[in-house]
Amino acid sequence: METRILRHNNNNSTAIRCTPSSISLLLLVMSSILLPTTNAMTEIDMGTTLVALKFDNGVVVGADTRTSASGYVSNKLAQKIHKITSPAMEDEKDNDNGSDDDDDDSLSCVICRSGSAADTQWLCQELTTDLWERKYRYCQKTSVRQVAHFLRHLMRQQGESSLQASLICAGCDEQEAKIFTIAPSGTLLEEDVFAVSGSGSTILLGHLDSLKMSMTKGDDGLYSEEEAVELVTKLLRLSIERDGSSGGLIRLVVMQKGKKLREITVYPDAPSSTQLEMNIPGFANAEAI
């Protein structure tokens, strides 16, 4: 059976020969135009920007707050930085004993989540459960390295169906500040100075590499805490500007040896007061309806 779909006749008019196979082929091609273009993945996907940067004797991590699903912002105030809290801190929340802090609080560690929100939320919950078990069964203190390796182990365990997760594990324990990245396949890498992850991270890599290059020329160390916080904020602002999947506020967590974990929230710049009047030549000012 002949399959002619579209043909120009001699007198410059189009004619469609309607054979069954031509109709089905036409429908197939038309449906690819008629259906709205969406991403292949319609699950909740955390296109995101994550940054971790070491400074003097600690590490600061930053994340945006946008969770998106097929171009729709499903959560504009997401929390992508999962704090690993020691179980003892939870029990004695109401009983503010200063002396207990040194004993169990030596670990401050966070997991920065990017990829599928479902997969990464599950990973963090599994991790928290495991840490509690170790604490109460074996009185085992956890280090950042152990957290990272356990996450890697969880991701490898999935086997054929790998989890869609790319994590940055950063924190301070007894030894020093550490940054680990765990890629979707389960690859674990310890990072020297900084780590970035998520869809917005590609924008920052070149910038960070050039900063790192200029740092080794005679600089005696890393940034100070204020400089590091300022830099991470700036980096997140830059990638929120350019990456459609990153947006919202900037959340930062600062972890330092011997100090309590500190959280900072940075709001998007509000326009200046003169802009609020919004006088545009030729147009009336906005009035409430």
Partner: protein
């Protein structure tokens, strides 16, 4: 000769939103050009005025919009200069005839499986009445008092339908559109807070310079202040 056919949009613009108010038509669109998920350019106008009488806005593939504008401007020029009557009286392109012309263009391209990947908005004022119409990439046309393309169809239309009245003043119309654009900025990944307004009335047809919306109040709603659903603050709002 085998011609390439458009299979997917590459460089895109997001929603265009518009309404008819008492005395004219007001359109709004942001000025962001996206390259997939990347924000490529922040100051690209997606609305143009044709022959100082008709507004044409588009969402979707930007190169197709540029091609359409080029063809329409040539058409408008031909209308005023080459027609037989133009020596004796003033003939300019009307919004309704442009709308129908674009319908024919879009339908023909789609019938050849090579569409202009756009949703077009045409606005004008003629015969003492405002005109507002849309054409999609298949050549479907609608003439309405309220239009919104792309994500605006989901997020802005309900707001427009709730607040619209036939006797809106220009200030009220502007407030309503700015509210819609703010919601789109919060909830559309490919939208920005930098927008342009365009207005056509009996005597004017102008497009504003791009300006920033004030979105400072969008992050402190009471429901957003407290963490819910456990998951360390990521359980929702």
């Amino acid at each position: 000769m085998a011609n390439k056919h458009t299979t997917r949009p590459i460089t895109t613009g997001t929603s265009v939103v518009g309404l008819v108010y008492d005395g004219g038509v007001l359109l709004a669109a942001d000025t962001l050009l996206s390259y997939g998920s990347m924000a490529k350019s922040f100051n690209t106008p997606r609305m143009v005025s044709i022959a100082d009488r008709v507004l044409l806005g588009a969402s979707g593939e930007y190169s197709d919009f540029q091609e359409i504008v080029s063809r329409v401007e040539a058409l408008a020029l031909a209308e005023t200069t080459q027609s037989m009557e133009s020596v004796y009286d003033e003939r300019t392109l009307s919004a309704k005839s442009l709308w129908n012309y674009l319908r024919a263009v879009m339908y023909q391209k789609r019938s050849k499986m090579n569409p202009f990947w756009n949703d077009l908005v045409v606005a004008g004022f003629e015969n003492d009445a405002p005109f507002l119409g849309v054409i999609d990439k298949l050549g479907t046309t609608l003439q309405e008092n309220l239009v919104a393309t792309g994500f605006g169809g989901y997020l802005a239309m309900p707001l427009l339908r709730e607040k619209w009245r036939p006797d809106l003043s220009e200030g009220e119309a502007r407030a309503l559109l700015e509210d819609c654009m703010k919601v789109l900025f919060y909830r559309d990944c490919r939208a920005s807070a930098r927008i342009q307004l365009a207005k056509v009335t009996k005597d004017t047809c102008i497009i504003s310079e791009p300006y920033e919306l004030d979105h400072s109040n969008g992050w402190n709603a009471p429901s957003m202040q407290r963490a819910v659903g456990d998951l360390d603050g990521d359980g929702g709002w």
